[in-house]
C-alpha cells in the first residue's frame, strides 16, 4: 500500500517532443514534487503514458491534476487510488557475490521469485519486479551482503478491470 500522502497519476499525453519537459517544468516551476516518473508509448503510437508518483496533500494533488489537465498536450489525467489498481516497479540490483554469499543470494532470488540476469566474477545482477513493499524487502535483505548499485524504473500502474 502507498503512504497516505503518496499519489500515483496516470497521464495520457500526445507523443510529441517537449511534452515531458512541459510536465517536468510544471512540477519544478510550481514547487511540486516528483517521486518517480515513467514514460513510454501506448498501443496508439501518437499517445504516450506517463506514470508519475508524487508526495503531496490532497489539495495540492487536486491542483497538480488541474494544472496537468491545463497543459495543451495532455489528453487525460487519472489518479490511481486505493486498491483499484495494480502497481509494479522493476529494479536491477548489482550485488557483491563473493563465493561464501552466492548460495544465500540465490536462495533469496528464489524466495522473491526474481532472477539473476548477469553474472560477473564477483557480482550478480538481479532483476526484481513487484510493488514497492517487495522491492524494499529484498533491498534491505541484500544490503548487508553488499549492494554495488541499483537502477529502478519507477512505478507503472493501471486500473483494475471489474471482476
Amino acid at each position: 500500500m502507498l503512504d497516505a500522502d503518496k499519489h500515483v497519476l496516470s497521464i495520457l499525453v500526445e507523443n510529441q517532443p517537449g511534452v515531458l519537459s512541459r510536465i517536468s517544468g510544471l512540477f519544478s516551476g510550481r514547487g511540486f514534487n516528483i517521486e518517480s516518473l515513467c514514460v513510454a508509448v501506448t498501443t496508439d503510437p501518437t499517445v504516450s503514458r506517463v506514470t508519475l508518483v508524487t508526495k503531496a496533500d490532497q489539495t495540492i494533488v487536486e491542483q497538480i491534476k488541474k494544472q496537468l489537465n491545463k497543459l495543451i498536450n495532455v489528453i487525460k489525467v487519472h489518479e490511481l487510488t486505493g486498491s483499484e489498481f495494480v502497481e509494479r516497479e522493476m529494479v536491477l540490483i548489482k550485488v557483491l557475490a563473493k563465493p561464501e554469499y552466492r548460495a544465500e543470494i540465490l536462495r533469496m532470488v528464489d524466495i522473491f521469485r526474481c532472477k539473476v540476469v548477469d553474472v560477473g566474477a564477483e557480482h550478480y545482477t538481479i532483476e526484481v519486479t513487484g510493488d514497492e513493499g517487495k522491492l524494499q524487502a529484498i533491498l534491505s535483505l541484500l544490503k548487508p551482503i553488499g549492494i554495488k548499485e541499483i537502477a529502478r524504473t519507477g512505478v507503472i500502474a493501471l486500473f483494475r478491470e471489474p471482476k
Binding site: 517537449g18 519537459s21 510544471l26 516551476g29 487536486e62 491542483q63 488541474k66 489537465n69 498536450n73 489528453i75
Partner: protein
C-alpha cells in the same frame, strides 16, 4: 497552388483578420518581411522587441482581440520574454512569431540561435516549433485558437528560416480540432442553482470581479447582476472598468492599495461572489482571514484558479459571460424581497466606511501626484484609455481615475512590468486611432521603454505621457520608508534626463509643470497638442500610496492617510 512558408504565414494572418503587426526585423525573418511588405497588413516598427509585445498586449486589451508580434531569432526572441510573461500573467491573447535558425542548424549553437520554445514554455499558454512548411498553416490556426479561447494567453510560434523559404503545394487547413484542449464555457446548472440560493438568503453580499469579466466581455452582464440583486461591487486591478466606477454600488478596488470600504466589506460580507479572478496575494493579503465570514462562490473558466489560494464553497467552472447571463436569467424569476429595505443596513454600513476613510490626500505647495490624476480624470471626462507603468503611478491611476467602461484601463497587473505603459499606449492607439490614449508614468519606469517615443513619432501616434516625476523609484522608496527605517537604498534617481528636452529630441512635444496651479494648464495644453506629448509633472518627492496593507497582513489592517 504553390506557396512559400512566408506567403502561407501572411495568408493565414489575413484569414485570422490581422490588420496590424508589431515587430522588428532580423536575419532569419527577412523572407517574412519581404512578403509582409506586399500585403496590406500594417507593420509597426518598434525600437525594442519588448515594446512589440507590450504594444500587441495593449492592442489586444483595447480591442478585445488578439495582438500579433513578429521578431527575429536569438536576441530578438529573448527580448520578447518579459512581454510574453506579462501577457501570460494577465491572460492576454497575443501571438508571437519568432524567427529561428534553419532546422538543420538547430542545436548547433548557430549565430543568433536560442531555444526560445524552451525559454518560454513556462510563460506561454502554449508554444510551437514549426519543423516543416507543411505544418505551418494549421499550427498558425491552432496558435490563434489557443490564444483567444478559454482563458486567453500568449502563444509563441517559432519558425525556422528554411520553413519560411521552402515552397510547397498549399492545402488550406481544416477547422481546428484538438483532442486535448476543450475549455468549458457552459457552467454546470446545479452549481448555478446553489449560487442563486445563496444570493436569495445573503444579507451582506459583495461581488468581486476581475480581469476575466473584461476578457469574456461580461461587463454588462455583471452590471445587470449587481443592479438586479443590489450587490456592491469591488474589483481587482485587472477588473477596473468591469463595473462603472461612478455607480453607487461601486466599492473601489480591493487589496493592498484598495479602498477602506472595499477591504472592510470583504472582511464583513456573508456572500462573496468572485468572478473571473485568481485571488492574487496582492488582493488577499493573509489568506486565512480573507472574506472569512463569507460563503465564497468562485466563477472562472480556468479550473486551476479555483481553490488554488482560497477555499471555496461553490466552485463554478465556466466562461464569465455565459455564466453571468445564465445566472441573470435564473434570477429573473426569483423573489429577492424588498431589496431597498433588505440592503439598507449593509449599504449604510458601507457608506459609513466610505465617509470615515475615503481616498484622500492633502494638496500642499508642491504638486501631489494624486491631484494630477484627478485633474486628468476631470479634463478627459473619464473617457481616455489609460495605460500605466508600474509602481505608485499605477496605483494612483487605479485609485483616482474612475473607469466606467471595460477595455479602458491597460496595466501590467500580474507581472508588474515597468516600461509597460508607453508601448501599451502605442498598441492601444493603433487599435483606437480616434481615442485619447494616456500613459500615466513614473520617472523611473518611463525610462525602461522610453525608446518607443521614436515609434510613436514615426507612426504619428498622438499618445500622451503623464510623468509623475518624484525623482524616486517611488513604490520601493515607500516600502523603505515604511518598513526599512527610511533607508532609501538605490531608489533615488539622481540623474534623470530632462524629459521636456528628451521629448523634443524624439520629435515630440515636451511640457512641464512645477506648481499645483500649472497642472491644469499643462494638461489642457498637452492633451490638445497633436502628436505625441510628454508632460513632466514635478511632484511631491515622498508621497505615499494609501491605504496600504503591508504584504502578508490581513486586508483590514490598512495604513491610512
Amino acid at each position: 497552388m504553390e506557396l512559400t512558408g512566408a506567403q502561407i504565414l501572411i495568408k493565414m494572418l489575413k484569414e485570422e483578420g490581422v490588420k496590424n503587426i508589431f515587430g522588428y526585423p532580423g536575419g532569419v525573418v527577412i523572407d517574412i518581411y519581404d512578403e509582409l511588405m506586399k500585403s496590406d497588413i500594417r507593420h509597426i516598427l518598434v525600437r525594442h522587441e519588448q515594446g512589440a509585445v507590450h504594444a500587441a498586449d495593449g492592442y489586444a486589451r483595447a480591442t478585445g482581440g488578439v495582438g500579433v508580434c513578429l521578431v527575429t531569432s536569438g536576441p530578438g526572441a529573448t527580448n520578447t520574454v518579459t512581454g510574453i510573461a506579462s501577457a501570460y500573467m494577465d491572460s492576454i491573447p497575443v501571438v508571437v512569431f519568432t524567427g529561428q535558425v534553419p532546422v538543420h542548424l538547430i542545436g548547433n549553437d548557430a549565430f543568433q540561435e536560442v531555444d526560445i520554445v524552451g525559454i518560454t514554455r513556462p510563460c506561454t499558454k502554449h508554444n510551437f516549433l514549426v519543423k516543416s512548411t507543411e505544418e505551418l498553416a494549421h499550427t498558425i490556426k491552432e496558435a490563434f485558437h489557443i490564444a483567444r479561447s478559454g482563458r486567453p494567453g500568449p502563444v509563441l510560434v517559432d519558425i525556422p528560416k528554411n520553413v519560411s523559404t521552402a515552397r510547397i503545394k498549399y492545402k488550406a487547413p481544416g477547422p481546428v480540432k484538438m483532442r486535448t484542449y476543450n475549455p468549458t464555457y457552459k457552467p454546470n446548472k446545479r452549481q448555478l442553482q446553489k449560487v442563486v440560493d445563496l444570493i436569495k438568503v445573503a444579507e451582506k453580499p459583495v461581488i468581486f470581479a476581475g480581469g476575466g469579466v473584461i476578457l469574456s466581455k461580461a461587463a454588462s452582464a455583471l452590471t445587470k447582476l449587481a443592479q438586479r440583486a443590489r450587490i456592491p461591487v469591488t474589483t481587482t486591478l485587472m477588473g477596473l472598468g468591469a463595473f462603472p466606477g461612478t455607480d453607487p454600488l461601486w466599492l473601489g478596488m480591493i487589496g493592498m492599495h484598495g479602498t477602506y470600504r472595499s477591504n472592510m466589506s470583504t472582511a464583513h460580507c456573508d456572500l462573496f461572489l468572485a468572478i473571473g479572478v485568481r485571488f492574487d496575494d496582492r488582493v488577499t493579503g493573509k489568506t486565512d482571514t480573507f472574506a472569512s465570514q463569507a460563503q465564497i462562490v468562485h466563477i472562472d473558466i480556468d479550473p486551476t484558479s479555483i481553490r488554488k489560494n482560497i477555499p471555496v464553497a461553490v466552485p463554478v467552472v465556466g466562461d464569465c459571460k455565459c455564466t453571468l447571463e445564465e445566472l441573470n436569467e435564473m434570477l429573473e424569476s426569483v423573489d429577492l424581497g424588498d431589496l431597498d429595505n433588505r440592503r439598507k443596513p449593509w449599504l449604510d454600513q458601507i457608506q459609513a466606511w466610505k465617509s470615515t476613510n475615503p481616498l484622500a490626500y492633502h494638496q500642499e505647495e508642491t504638486i501631489k501626484p494624486q491631484y494630477v490624476v484627478e485633474k486628468l480624470y476631470e479634463l478627459t471626462k473619464g473617457e481616455a484609455i489609460i495605460t500605466t507603468e508600474v509602481g505608485q503611478n499605477q496605483m494612483w491611476a487605479a485609485q483616482y481615475y474612475h473607469f466606467d467602461k471595460p477595455n479602458h484601463f491597460i496595466t501590467s497587473g500580474g507581472l508588474g512590468v515597468m516600461g509597460f505603459g508607453l508601448p501599451a499606449a502605442i498598441g492601444a492607439q493603433i487599435a483606437c486611432p480616434d481615442r485619447l490614449v494616456v500613459d500615466i508614468a513614473g520617472d523611473g519606469s518611463i525610462q525602461m521603454n522610453i525608446q518607443e517615443m521614436a515609434t510613436a513619432v514615426q507612426c504619428n501616434l498622438p499618445v500622451k505621457v503623464v510623468i509623475l516625476n518624484n525623482g524616486y523609484l517611488g513604490m520601493v522608496r515607500q516600502w523603505q520608508q515604511l518598513f526599512y527605517d527610511k533607508r532609501y537604498c538605490c531608489t533615488c534617481m539622481e540623474h534623470a534626463p530632462d524629459f521636456v528636452k528628451l521629448a523634443e529630441a524624439y520629435g515630440a512635444t515636451g511640457l512641464r509643470a512645477r506648481k499645483p496651479e500649472e497642472v491644469e494648464e499643462v494638461l489642457k495644453k498637452g492633451l490638445s497638442t497633436p502628436g505625441p506629448v510628454i508632460m513632466d509633472f514635478v511632484v511631491e518627492k515622498e508621497e505615499c500610496v494609501y491605504p496600504m496593507v503591508p504584504a502578508g497582513a490581513p486586508i483590514t489592517e490598512m495604513l491610512l492617510v
